[in-house]
Symmetry: C2
Subunit: 340 residues, 2 copies
């Protein structure tokens, strides 16, 4: 993490998740752990992006609505503290929709079509020419999210860098229209953690692929996920020498096991032969069960008290509504629309 800034000069951080499913170990490694660390030093807001979740799920809105509180419970379970991090709901912040409308006039369709992240997502989702307008234009909405909070630092994976470029292009256009710096450009905060592979070693982790371990996974689900995990396909007998590279069990052990030396020994043993996948999986399962048990329990307690989760979102959204309205005021001012 590049959190070199000191506490006297906190950054404004905006981060968030599409509320389209419960969060999993990939989120934990890629962003949640980082957020827990960041909330101690910086002014952090987490946006539960329900509207963005709808851009490709409008015909199955339950996928979004049913996951809003799950995601909030995931946050709290891993240690995100609502007294340090503002957690808010995108659909509760009308200023973000309004900013999106204004920014849309400053971005061309062809520019959006050239966005590499959107391009690859369109391909993945098989949209071709039937892309929903809201999906093609979601980088504009994301620019509204980021600038609406006046964020200086945005934690992203490197596949999301084109989104920040798009945001900063809009920022420069707005500032050039204003003739002064009304909005701030944001910088990416790239996580040091490399992307956690899916349990099948093939794809990006996703709930629908069944290749992710959710933060709320039961003991049985964890056990089954580890047992089915991709290892070295040429490691047929226990006595065979095995490969640890590309072997998902070892990748997870590297990430999650607390004892580095022990894992180093385990790898050497596996490489020279004589160590079965059953044994390495047992080690991994034990470590994941230990790690996820308290998270699962806290998550379940939070979900038992939905009123508390709603209350956290209400309070966070209230604070965020004020912040984003101020930015909207400044942007409308550039267009001369604050006539009353």
């Amino acid at each position: 993490m590049n959190t070199k800034q000191n506490a006297d000069n906190p950054e404004i951080i905006l981060t968030g998740d599409r509320a389209t499913g419960p969060l999993h170990l990939g989120h934990y490694v890629g962003s949640l752990k980082q957020r827990v660390a960041l909330q101690a030093i910086h002014e952090q807001t987490i946006l539960v992006a329900d509207m963005q979740g709808l851009t490709d799920n409008a015909h199955n809105p339950k996928k979004v609505s049913s996951n809003i509180l799950n995601v909030v419970a995931d946050y709290l379970a891993v240690g995100i503290d609502p007294s340090k991090t503002t957690i808010c709901l995108q659909s509760q912040l009308p200023a973000l929709a309004e900013l999106t409308m204004y920014y849309s006039n400053l971005v061309t369709i062809s520019r959006l079509e050239r966005n590499p992240t959107v391009k690859s997502e369109i391909q993945n989702k098989g949209f071709e020419r039937s892309i929903p307008a809201g999906f093609l234009t979601y980088p504009v909405s994301q620019a509204a999210d980021i600038t609406g909070f006046n964020a200086s630092l945005v934690p992203v994976g490197d596949d999301q860098l084109p989104m920040l470029e798009q945001t900063n292009e809009i920022v420069r256009k707005v500032n050039s229209l204003a003739g002064r710096n009304v909005l701030n450009e944001c910088r990416p905060l790239l996580s040091n953690a490399s992307r956690l592979p899916s349990t099948d070693g093939k794809n990006k982790m996703s709930k629908s692929m069944g290749n992710a371990i959710n933060l709320g996974a039961t003991e049985k689900e964890i056990s089954a996920a580890v047992k089915s995990m991709y290892t070295d396909p040429n490691h047929l007998k226990v006595e065979d020498p095995g490969n640890v590279e590309g072997n998902v069990v070892f990748t997870y052990l590297d990430v999650f096991h607390p004892d580095e030396d022990y894992i180093k020994q385990l790898k050497e043993h596996y490489r020279r032969g004589g160590l079965g996948d059953g044994t390495t999986k047992k080690v991994l399962e034990e470590c994941l069960q230990d790690m996820l048990r308290p998270i699962r329990e806290r998550r379940s307690e939070f979900l038992d008290d939905k009123a508390q989760l709603v209350d956290i979102l209400v309070k966070g959204s209230q604070v965020s509504r004020e912040k984003t309205s101020e930015v909207l005021f400044d942007v409308k001012d550039i267009f001369g629309l604050n006539i009353f």
Copy 2:
């Protein structure tokens, strides 16, 4: 006008104008006169579309902001009565921006690119591939405007019919998602008046082309506009027989002169020869001066009291904010997002 409905069963009418210039005689004939009649029978809202005006003027926002109050003054000057018609400002109604975001997920980019009205406007404006996203998607925003007021009747020119089709497509998608009729389809109210030609007889009337007579035109401007008006290019000498078809002076006389018989005689005289363009233009000028004098005077009085104009917009926007918020609530409900 097809205002056959009786006063016991008033329609909800939404109409409006992009605030990109003062209104002119084309607006008067094509819509303003109709609105004055409609306000007596129906529940009419006029939306001053500043945000839509920005979709192709974002780099010149003054063109929009400086015309908002002019347009309101135009309305009042021709007899639109704020106690009968709600006059509101689009940028003051966040629910419209939010509805636009939700609807955007239900419309594909290729569907928008097929919209004949947008297609021809893109061509007229020379946008080609550099269409602002907000411009390509403005039919979605217009659907938000119409449905946001739950309008049943929308006065349009026939070139705008594809916009209402797009709106009703969205309405049907929303209702199908909801499994019941949450939104109402709207019907067009086509004006009987044919489009008033520009003074040069060539183009659509527009301020930038200098071929329109604004409602606030000065005596001199009216005089100059009539003098330069396109007549019959083959009518060189007074004694020559002349054509009244395509002769803008006669088209305007047909529309604006109160004495039909007199115009009939004038046409016959012109056709057989012996009537000069100077004379017909004098008749037209007198009639336009008489008609526009009181409008110009009222307009100027209203513009002298900007606080009153703002007050009308504030009150109309307040009422409209409540109406559009109710529709937004119903739409968000379909997506399961009214969790608090």
